[in-house]
């Protein structure tokens, strides 16, 4: 019968020679191999202490952005919710009152903004849809929670720290991710 692949290896049924029957040389050979592995560099990364470097276009959890003065960018236009293929985003809008100009950049803002992280597929279409640079994906990932409702992130979870009061937290949340990499087709 013709073999289907060229990987076929016939079984060697020859009787073992005396040298082979002694086993010990073979055992020693095996021990040399394991000893070599003993000294090889381990590929494992000690995860919480060390992390693998991310790709510059890594897509993690969403954050809601603020401008330099700490005002929320979002105007609750709903384009992100419309763009979302997983229908993970819901929001309710409200009108900015007099005296709230330091909180919201424009007259309309999102009173409620929720992303269901269990539905989200981290495609980044919300980020691309946003005309106000308000929502974008950060480098944070792998959230953990005990309950499903804990994965529905509200505004308090999503909002980036205020750059005026907490510049470090702002920078950390923003991360070093490249927002519009070359060649993705959406260059301005």
């Amino acid at each position: 019968m013709e073999a289907l692949t060229n990987r076929v290896k016939p079984v060697d049924r020859r009787k073992m020679s005396i040298w082979e029957k002694m086993y010990l040389p073979a055992v020693l050979k095996g021990m040399v191999i394991t000893l070599k592995h003993f000294f090889t560099k381990k590929v494992t990364i000690n995860y919480p202490e060390e992390t693998r470097p991310f790709s510059p276009v890594f897509r993690g959890l969403q954050i809601l952005n603020r401008d330099e003065e700490g005002r929320e960018n979002c105007t609750a236009c709903g384009l992100c919710a419309l763009a979302c293929p997983a229908e993970a985003i819901t929001m309710e809008c409200a009108e900015r009152k007099v005296g709230e100009e330091h909180l919201y950049r424009e007259e309309k803002y999102a009173a409620k903004y929720e992303i269901n992280m269990l539905r989200c597929i981290f495609c980044g279409l919300c980020e691309e849809a946003c005309p106000k640079d308000a929502v974008y994906l950060s480098e944070t990932f792998a959230p953990a929670n005990y309950q499903r409702k804990g994965f529905i992130y509200g505004k308090e979870d999503l909002l980036i720290p205020d750059p005026k009061t907490d510049p470090e937290g702002f920078a950390r949340a923003k991360g070093s991710r490249i927002k519009h990499p070359q060649g993705h087709g959406n260059e301005h």
Binding site: L24, V27, G30, M31, I33, T34, L35, H37, F38, T40, K42, V43, T44, N46
Partner: protein
């Protein structure tokens, strides 16, 4: 004033000295066994390109403590249909026989404490190696009783395997040892070390005997490739399948104590015991003093044992388990004739030497 004549005849300093030594040796044995579990896991991991336990403490060195704590807090289950007395006796015997071997091993030369020569050997009995053999054979009872009392067919199978395996390999072990005894002419471990300190190590005079002894030691301590009594994937843990909590811990611990002490026995018999290689110990004694030499010798002894423990682990993570018929074939058809041949050869050579190499 009334005083007890029997109590007066006891040398109390000797009594206290031995008591302290016993406590120290047992503690060291247990400590080494405890850390052997950690080293075992590390070695296994490194040989499989992993990192091994590194969460508990720096480099995971508190891992054995965590494991021990876990075992202590586990529920202690005694099966309903087991014979409870024997079920509890099993791990006790296994541990006891494992530790008892340490009594005759010469851990070092004599320390000089306040003008008193304190021997680092608990009991320098003139039949030391015979005692080791007796105690090691008793070790089967721990396993056998545990497996039998569990009233579980897998435990019983494991126990049966252990019993027949240990008995089979003890033959080859004993005969390999006889050829060594022909050379040394003494059964006292201390004297053997003394001979090797002055002359050459026994490994050079008995290479084949050592090889047989080593293979048999693997079988006696139930280590891979001869770990059939506790084959996890065939017998679900074998003789300790029904054990939980610290009783299980005792069995596992006894194996590591056995490993440590069989390393010690092999070092004593074939690798010069506490002899420092390439150094004349008597000269060293003059230059740095008696006590420092003895401490150094003890350290060297422990290094040698550690190398043996590493060898045990190295082989475990290299060689797969034997099939039971292969194990028996190796024991009866290869090792036993080989050791008999070795004995005859040694005997013939000694006879020739006594005749000044004339036939």
């Amino acid at each position: 004033m009334y005083s007890n004549p029997i109590l007066l005849t006891i040398d109390w300093t000797l009594f206290i000295e031995k008591l302290v030594l016993i406590v120290v040796v047992v503690m060291i044995s247990l400590f080494v066994a405890m850390y052997s579990t950690y080293v075992e896991r590390k070695v296994a991991a490194f040989m499989q390109d992993r990192r091994g336990p590194n969460r508990a403490g720096p480099f995971g060195i508190l891992q054995p403590l965590a494991d021990g704590m876990k075992l202590f807090f586990k529920e202690e289950i005694v099966p309903n249909f087991s014979s409870k007395f024997l079920f509890i006796l099993g791990p006790i015997l296994a541990m006891l026989t494992a530790i008892m071997v340490s009594a005759v091993i010469p851990w070092g030369d004599k320390l000089n404490i306040f003008g008193r020569n304190v021997s680092l050997q608990i009991a320098d009995i003139n039949i030391g190696i015979l005692y080791v053999f007796g105690v090691v054979s008793l070790g089967v009872y721990g396993i056998m009783i545990g497996g039998w009392a569990s009233n579980n067919k897998f435990s019983l199978l494991g126990a049966m395997r252990a019993a027949s395996q240990i008995i089979s390999y003890e033959l080859a072990l004993g005969i390999a040892l006889i050829s060594l005894l022909l050379l040394t002419g003494t059964l006292s471990l201390n004297e053997m070390v003394g001979q090797q300190k002055d002359g050459i190590w026994n490994i050079l005079r008995q290479p084949l005997g050592f090889l047989i002894f080593l293979v048999c030691a693997f079988a006696e301590t139930n280590r891979t490739p001869f770990d059939l009594p506790e084959a996890e994937n065939e017998l679900m843990g074998g003789y300790h399948a029904e054990y939980s909590s610290m009783k299980l811990g005792f069995y596992l611990f006894a194996e590591y104590v056995n490993m440590f002490l069989s390393g010690a026995v092999m070092t004593t018999l074939y690798f010069g015991g506490y002899d420092i290689p390439f150094v004349n110990d008597a000269n060293l004694m003059h230059t740095i003093g008696q006590n420092w030499t003895v401490i150094l010798e003890g350290l060297v002894f422990f290094i040698k044992i550690s190398l043996f423990i590493f060898l045990f682990m190295w082989v475990r993570w290299t060689v797969p388990r034997f099939r039971y018929d292969q194990l028996m074939n190796l024991g009866w058809k290869i090792l036993l004739p080989l050791s008999l041949f070795n004995m005859l050869l040694t005997g013939a050579l000694i006879l020739l030497k006594q005749n000044h190499w004339h036939f």
